[in-house]
């Protein structure tokens, strides 16, 4: 069971990171009017993260501090690393200082904290 929980947390972190990365990149190119007008109702990272959150105990309460610290640390490292690669490739307007704030907001929206 503990192993299942760890696996669920891994998948939660992976999708949370992807969703936060998406939001930060979206902010960097907000000048494109057409941006993703055609987004069908398919599951994106955000919805998938929500899906995993609903499977991680405790479901109806915030996650324990120990888990939250771990999730924040690992998600932050993943997003930062993905953003730094893009910056090194010449991407413009990427604001790394948004990472922690966006992760915090995402965790609140996902009812993890």
């Amino acid at each position: 069971m503990a192993q299942n929980r760890n696996k669920l947390i891994d998948l939660f972190i992976s999708n949370l990171s992807n969703a936060v990365l998406h939001r930060i990149l979206e902010k960097a190119i907000s000048d494109i009017e057409i941006m993703q007008k055609y987004s069908k109702e398919i599951k994106n990272s955000w919805q998938i993260a929500l899906n995993y959150r609903e499977k991680i105990n405790p479901i109806d309460m915030p996650l324990p501090n120990k888990d939250i610290e771990e999730i924040k640390r690992r998600a932050s490292n993943r997003v930062k690393s993905d953003l730094l690669i893009r910056i090194s490739k010449g991407y413009k307007n990427i604001d790394i200082s948004l990472i922690d704030q966006f992760i915090n907001n995402a965790l609140k929206e996902l009812r993890a904290i």
Binding site: L11, S14, N15, N18, L21, H22, L25, E26, A28, I29, I32, E33, I34, M35, Q36, K37, Y38, S39, K40, E41, I42, K43, N44, S45, I48, N51, I85, R86, K89, G90, Y91, K92
Partner: protein, 265 residues
């Protein structure tokens, strides 16, 4: 005397407006109201002669539905420049997911109302996008999904545009990111979601490598790249390990291409 009017929505009661200058139907007269023959609507839509682009054999019933749809949209919206019907509804047979409709208009409002109206009148799940002319042209030049949508369509008026791809690597990187969840979440996604994410990824690869794009071309490429039949992918009958391994390779290749090209521009 007989007149044709349209039922319009009122706040407390709905109504039918008739012109003030008329011979007959005086104030206080009692009148009967009945729906007109469906053929009149179809005749009306047919008289508009919709454009069938790269569609040779569309089923008659679908042509009738499109006629109804155009009439319905025109009767319930103002200042529409064009209506474009695209997507799986135009595929052969009746296994389409929904009706994809692009409505080209400058004042973009009433999307939800229109969606509800179409779904309640025609009974098909509907996906509507309201766009200005400028946004449509931007979409076609920037977004492979738009280019694919307009590789085959039915529209109220002819669409005239000069095909010119503008490759914005940051935008395409963001679009590609949508396809990433399949790698870690294969079991969680259904067949249609897997198909859509794969199609999104392969169409970006084709877009940046300046290859032609259409639903048919991308479907063929997916079959070739993964050695599978599209229908099996849509039906979620694909073996995970081989598929995810190939998917990850193509994802990395596409992302590296985006990174390299962005770095070298």
């Amino acid at each position: 005397m007989e007149m044709i009017g349209r039922v319009s929505r009122g706040s407390k009661m709905d109504q039918v407006y008739i012109p003030k200058n008329r011979a007959g139907l005086a104030i206080g007269n009692y009148v009967s109201i009945k729906p007109i023959d469906i053929n009149i609507s179809i005749e009306y839509a047919q008289s508009r002669k919709p454009v069938f682009y790269k569609l040779s054999n569309l089923e008659k019933i679908k042509v009738m539905i499109i006629g109804e749809l155009l009439t319905l949209i025109l009767a319930n919206t103002k200042n529409v420049n064009n209506i474009i019907i695209t997507g799986s509804f135009l595929n052969k047979g009746f296994s389409f997911n929904d009706l994809d409709i692009l409505i080209i208009m400058e004042e973009k409002e009433g999307q939800d109302r229109l969606k509800k109206l179409i779904e309640s009148s025609i009974g098909i799940n509907t996906h509507i996008i309201l766009l200005s002319n400028k946004e449509l042209l931007e979409g076609i030049s920037h977004d492979p999904v738009f280019e694919m949508m307009l590789s085959r369509y039915v529209s109220l008026n002819k669409i005239i545009y000069k095909k010119k791809r503008i490759i914005n690597y940051q935008f395409l990187d963001l679009s590609l990111l949508k396809s990433k969840p399949l790698i870690d979440n294969f079991e969680l996604l259904n067949g249609k979601e897997k198909y859509y994410l794969t199609k999104n990824m392969v169409s970006i690869l084709f877009f940046i490598t300046k290859k032609d794009l259409s639903d048919k071309i991308i479907d063929k490429e997916i079959e070739k790249l993964f050695g599978i039949k599209i229908e099996r992918l849509k039906d979620n009958l694909i073996e995970k390990n081989k598929f995810v391994k190939l998917y990850q390779e193509i994802y990395n290749k596409t992302q590296n291409l985006l990174f390299t090209k962005n770095g070298s521009k």
